[in-house]
Subunit: 458 residues, 2 copies
């Protein structure tokens, strides 16, 4: 049995930044590392080429009567910039206290090694484990998984033969409390471009004559929320479903401390959908956010220009039953209707993804036709978590988006059991990313026990 | 007598970008070029050191009974970036048709050489010309003249002995119609910074919980104008004076074509102070403009972040009788009052300058104590322009700002006669800046005749 921490160190040393073509060698290294590791464990490993970064598909077990789990993960990481903010080099793993530092340590190399190590232990103990396992490890997650839909279409029949997906790419609220994430928000993104005069103008000679595109853009943006915090777009909430009481009950178990959350964010006032607490609002309600804005002179000092152009980057997070294209159209229509005279409006479309929800067994809204293997997987996970972490998991939707989870559901019908391992202090996507080695150890035991129970038919 | 076009070429070859310390040699070269040229014409040249770029003060004539003109100009130029948009190199003068191309050809090297050449011709014809002339040529105009106030304080007694200032650093509407600019707008500038959470946040995990600083900034900006085009700040227009009927009459002579102006700007609708045409609005009314805005992710594609910060750069153009500090306070107070809860507001103060107005002789509001030499200078300029350009000048305020003109008035009491030589097509501050050599030729004759008449007591 390999040492999971040593393997994670080796994995981090491959600088696998998918979005930057300078990291081609790191991407190939990380992909080969994963493929070789799974090969050494007796898996049949297939490296599926895509237009960009290959997808690893590795299987063991062929008896169709065995339960079949697809374990998802990704071998790519976010860029490590700004490098000067790292205490130790981003791609040189460093252990300090009970944490391992390095880009990708938490997202997603640590959690992926956790699940691979659990499987390795199970197979070492019982090489004939009656469980079909397919690892599905992609290399474009941090870029929005552009090759994934084509891959899904091509491999959907093989994937449909499985029972459910298992992954560790979501969050833990704290070290004591495991969350089984049972919903993710969808999203739709686009840019708004406003053009005034055909070129930048001298603000003295021409000031007072035309509408400044920064002003026009601000006037549009200012209409998109009510003072109370609702998105002010006709139809925006039409397809939002009521929250089931059991979901609110689960959230109560989290025992969120609003004061501590406000301090963590550094704000003195929340601004949520009216009627929803901050913890509810980010999980149960859609949003319209501005991710960026730009126009004119942004340097030091002054430049007395009336800029020709200004733009904003808009993203909406969506809840289950909202359609990304429909919401995008509603928002674009509202913006179009509210664009003042004297400026031109253009949109640049960006990506999108559907929301996802899975209901654990035994709830008021659990589907009657829920896969029995999925139900058993939830119960096995619940039991393993209660035993190892000393407290049963809570079942919560999360505000973030993992669009491929909804894609997998739509194309193959498979639901996902999401066993979160990130902590808020892990600095995902930021300098000094780290992963808690105690969480890793308990994570290995949890996955080992859960998959073992599933194989044993418990 | 030197060849003015050859001298202008030599002047352009000194890359005198005041704002960029890499151009120290070009700045020293341009300063020495001007000082040597004036020295060769018999002027007593003093190079006054400042904290940055020296000011050239060059005088001739000492009889206190002679009229005394201060001719202002500047030897520094704007940066030439983006260099790749220039047809011929920015600092290598090139003549094509009746135009000379090069950075500074129009702003201000061409017009300055025009006035120097006129003086050279006068002195060649009459070395004992009964006119005191002081050239005051600075090297920081394109940076906002930071050293000028200190210089003025130090030299105010010497400057007070003069009768008026003469300069060519304003615009001509077209090649046929000279404008004697008799007013400039003031300005006041500052930046607004809005901070939300203490760091950038994941828009999925935390979206729907707090007010986005881009949204807060847009909501503030959107309150600052009425839909009709007025600045929506209490007290903003309190000190704006009525426009005298003669000023509107002068503007009518310009015969501005609104359709042609809209086409030049590339817009389909004007947005002016209500009750003012576009030509009136930019000259007679104050503005509040947004020169820049920034926040969050501005690159290609998407980054689903709720930014911690957003900012905007604001400038107000002011008309005579408005005080920059008072207006700045009114606008800041309005912004403070309109900043929503949940975000923090900070201002960064930038520079400011007062508006300026000079009334030519014989108007309803000409000051009763107007300097007789100033009145004679206006009449001499009017006559020379009518003779040489075939049409008398019109007397207009301009929307731009030359803060040192108001500073000179405030400290020394001197008014300015502003004989514009730039054409709209000269591309000031832009690539392929050029200067019209026919305008230069007529400009030399005009200044020669005007100063000659003043010296002759006509």
């Amino acid at each position: 049995m390999f040492d999971p921490v040593e393997k994670l160190k080796e994995f981090i040393r491959h600088p696998s930044v998918s979005a930057d073509s300078k990291f081609g060698e790191g991407m190939r290294g990380a992909q080969k590392f994963v493929a070789d590791l799974l090969g050494s464990m007796g898996f049949d490993v297939e490296v599926v080429p895509t237009e960009l970064h290959p997808i690893i598909l590795a299987s063991r077990g062929s008896d169709p009567s065995w339960p079949h789990v697809v374990i998802y993960g990704h071998y790519d990481v976010q860029p490590a910039d700004p490098l000067n903010l790292w205490t130790t080099p981003a791609f040189e793993p460093s252990i300090r206290g009970n944490r391992i530092y390095g880009r990708g340590s938490a997202d997603n190399k640590g959690p992926l090694i956790t699940n691979i190590a659990a499987v390795a232990r199970l197979l070492e103990a019982n090489p004939n484990l009656p469980l079909r396992i397919t690892f599905l490890i992609e290399g474009e997650e941090e870029m929005g998984s552009p090759s994934f839909p084509k891959f899904l279409e091509r491999y959907k029949d093989r994937l449909k033969a499985a029972d459910f997906v298992y992954l560790s790419d979501t969050a833990l609220p704290n070290e004591q409390q495991v969350v089984l994430t049972c919903g993710l928000r969808g999203l739709t993104l686009f840019d708004v471009h406003i053009t005034g005069a055909k070129g930048d103008l001298h603000s003295g000679l021409h000031g007072g004559v035309l509408r400044n595109p920064i002003q026009a853009l601000a006037e549009i943006i200012a209409t998109l929320h009510t003072p109370e915090g609702k998105v002010n777009v006709p139809g925006f909430y039409d397809d939002v479903l009521d929250v089931h009481p059991w979901e609110r009950d689960e959230l109560k178990k989290l025992g969120g401390d609003e004061k501590a959350y406000a301090d963590f964010l550094g704000i003195d006032t929340f601004y949520t959908t009216p009627g929803f607490s901050p913890f509810e609002s980010s999980r149960f309600q859609p949003t319209l956010e501005f991710n960026g804005i730009g126009g004119g002179y942004q340097g030091e000092g002054t430049k007395t220009v009336i800029p020709s152009k200004a733009f904003a980057k808009i993203s909406c997070r969506l809840v289950p039953n909202q359609q990304p294209d429909k919401i995008k159209k509603s928002v674009m229509d509202a913006i179009r209707a509210r664009t003042p005279k004297g400026v031109k409006l253009e949109f640049v479309d960006q990506h999108k993804g559907e929301a996802y929800v899975v209901v654990p067994p035994g709830r008021s809204n659990t589907p009657k036709d829920q896969s029995p293997v999925l139900a058993r997987a939830f119960l096995a996970a619940d039991k393993a978590i209660a035993e190892i972490w000393g407290r049963p998991p809570i079942y919560l939707r999360e505000g973030g988006s993992v669009p491929i989870i909804a894609d997998i559901k739509r194309v193959t019908g498979l639901d996902s059991v999401m066993f979160g391992l990130f902590l808020p202090e892990d600095n995902l996507h930021a300098p000094n990313e780290s992963f808690n080695l105690d969480v890793m150890k308990k994570g290995i035991e949890t996955t080992e026990r859960m998959l073992g129970a599933l194989a044993a038919g418990k």
